[in-house]
């Protein structure tokens, strides 16, 4: 994970599709990805988040060349993907596993048959294949389902089969295209935990495509935010959560971390606390502890009440966004806030 070597690199990648021009939209091409550049480092879990139609699924398919790019460069392990012919592409794809939102399992094959198929394609001898299938099914916890058909499995089990199948040929890279979007929250966590194990125990680099910030928070090390075909923000997950720069990022962050109250929520709080000063505090590095802040208010004789907010742990680092209602003499409140502002980012609402 500390190895900074680049495994996947996209440089100025543009992808357009030909479309039938309409009166409303006379253009005959539709730009899905617009000069996208990003790097995925060996050993990391890289998250790519965006709304439906942002171009995430297209982007991930450029990496294993299921979709050809229009211009720019995609390299995987130093190989320029667009120069590969059919045979070279097949070899590339055997080194890249992929899992899907709808699992895409072969219904005509058993669980073991699904997992064995990539090995058959790769020409692995049968004895070796059987051993590998057993090993993989153990890894994903489905050893007892080897002879079951996919239509008898739950969604979470299907995705675990998908993961086992994608890992069969020991790929360096795993592409997860909305892998948890069809699952309920509990199953999502199970599958995310499995992906984390794939990353830490097998050392597989993972690219996770999602529209759920919870998935990014749960497993990604770094994240890129894609909006209307462009990367609008990229960085360490913690930094993106703590200090979102782009409005789209801020909206995603707001889905898992409550932002300071505003609008109707703020008005309601003000009505409920008519004599109080509302202040939003942001604790975005571990060095500040809340007790120090509360002590300031206490010593200044200011009563305080927590009225909104939440605390998150992202990649083991804590982040909190808390809104307090302060009650006390004006001068005391002012003094206390002056002291607190030296400790954390404080904003009077």
């Amino acid at each position: 994970m500390n190895d900074p070597t680049t495994l996947v690199e996209l440089r100025d990648v543009t992808k357009t599709f030909e479309v039938t021009p309409t009166r409303e939209n006379p253009a005959s091409t539709l730009t899905v990805l617009d000069r996208v550049s990003l790097e995925v480092r060996t050993g990391e879990i890289f998250g790519l988040i965006g709304y439906s139609g942002a171009g995430k699924s297209t982007l991930v398919r450029l990496i294993n060349a299921l979709t050809p790019l229009t211009s720019g460069s995609v390299t995987v392990d130093g190989v320029e993907v667009s120069t590969l012919k059919e045979r070279g592409l097949r070899e590339l794809r055997r080194d890249i596993g992929m899992i899907f939102q709808q699992f895409n399992l072969f219904n005509s094959r058993t669980v073991a048959g699904n997992v064995a198929y990539p090995l058959t394609i790769a020409g692995t001898p049968k004895s070796e294949r059987d051993a590998r299938v057993a090993e993989l099914l153990n890894f994903v916890g489905l050893a007892d389902k080897a002879h079951t058909y996919p239509d008898q499995l739950s969604g979470g089990q299907k995705q675990r089969v998908g993961i086992a199948r994608a890992l069969a040929t020991r790929p360096k890279l795993l592409l997860a295209d909305e892998a948890t979007s069809a699952l309920d929250p509990e199953t999502t966590q199970e599958v995310l935990a499995l992906l984390r194990r794939v990353n830490t125990e097998l050392g597989t680099t993972i690219v996770v495509i999602t529209h759920e910030m919870a998935v990014i928070r749960g497993i990604a090390h770094r994240v890129a935010v894609l909006d209307e075909g462009r990367i609008v923000e990229t960085g360490e997950v913690y930094d993106v959560f703590a200090k979102p720069q782009h409005p789209v990022t801020a909206r995603f962050v707001a889905t898992v971390i409550e932002p300071p109250p505003s609008g109707e929520t703020l008005a309601a709080l003000k009505t409920a606390h008519p004599n109080a000063t509302l202040v939003a505090l942001r604790f975005d590095e571990d060095r500040v502890n809340q007790a120090a802040v509360y002590r300031c208010f206490f010593e200044a004789g200011v009563a305080f009440e927590l009225v909104a907010g939440g605390i998150e742990a992202i990649q083991g680092r804590h982040f909190a966004q808390l809104t307090l209602a302060l009650d006390g003499p004006d001068a005391a409140v002012r003094d206390a806030l002056a002291q607190v502002s030296e400790l954390v980012k404080a904003e009077v609402l």
Binding site: E91, R93, F100, N104, N107, Y117, T120, I121
Partner: protein
């Protein structure tokens, strides 16, 4: 078995046809015509149906010209009524089988017609395969022939078998027309000994036999499809 058709109805003309073995021969001829025509038809239909599916836009072998050609050929020939179709391909039948009349010529025409029919059935059933499954196979690095034979056909097998069962019924239907065109089989039998001799009993017996043949085929098809689909 056929002897049982006689007797309880009294001594009729039917008994004579059964005794002389005409009915057995007619049944055999129908089964023989249908078997060969469906066999050839399935081969042609699989090839053309796969061609239609894979050369379509976005398909594994996407090829606009190839698709257009196949599609037009199937669209032109498939809707031609069989009784006219046989006449239309008579010159070709003469070249291939050496005769323009009788069972060989009928079987030839029946095979071609079945081929066009099965093509559409195959194409339609391949559409029932989730494109995501094909994509998964591509993402694994499977070659295109391997995807066709290792993924596409196995995934579509259940519906394909039901489709072929449906085709069997259509070929039995078409084979009866051979009776009007100088061929043998149950069509000829019921026309010659039933309809033209005002012997409704003979026609009815033929009807029952055809119903039994079709029902048996349908039961077998359903059973095999159910086994394949495990439902």
């Amino acid at each position: 078995m056929l002897d049982g058709l006689c007797g309880w109805w009294g001594r009729t003309r039917l008994c004579e046809l059964v005794d002389r073995g005409y009915l057995a021969e007619a049944i055999f001829e129908t089964l023989y015509m249908v078997a060969i025509a469906l066999g050839v038809g399935i081969v042609i239909g699989l090839i053309v149906g796969l061609g239609l599916y894979t050369t379509r836009k976005g398909g594994l072998y996407a090829n606009r010209v190839m698709y257009a050609v196949l599609n037009i050929i199937v669209n032109i020939f498939r809707p031609i009524p069989f009784v006219i179709f046989i006449g239309a391909v008579q010159p070709l039948a003469r070249v291939v089988t050496g005769t323009g009349i009788g069972n060989p010529a009928i079987i030839f025409g029946l095979s071609i017609a079945a081929g066009f029919f099965v093509s559409r059935i195959v194409e339609q059933n391949l559409f029932s395969v989730d494109p995501g499954v094909v994509e998964a196979a591509r993402a694994m690095g499977a070659s295109r022939p391997r995807i066709v034979f290792g993924v596409l056909i196995p995934e579509a097998l259940g519906p394909l078998i039901l489709g072929l069962t449906f085709s069997f019924v259509s070929v039995v239907d078409a084979s009866a027309i051979a009776g009007v065109l100088g061929g043998g089989g149950l069509g000829n039998f019921s026309l010659s000994y039933g309809f033209r001799q005002f012997d409704t009993l003979v026609t009815w017996v033929t009807v029952v036999i055809i119903i039994v043949i079709v029902q048996l085929a349908q039961l077998l098809g359903n059973w095999v499809a159910r086994r394949v689909m495990r439902r």
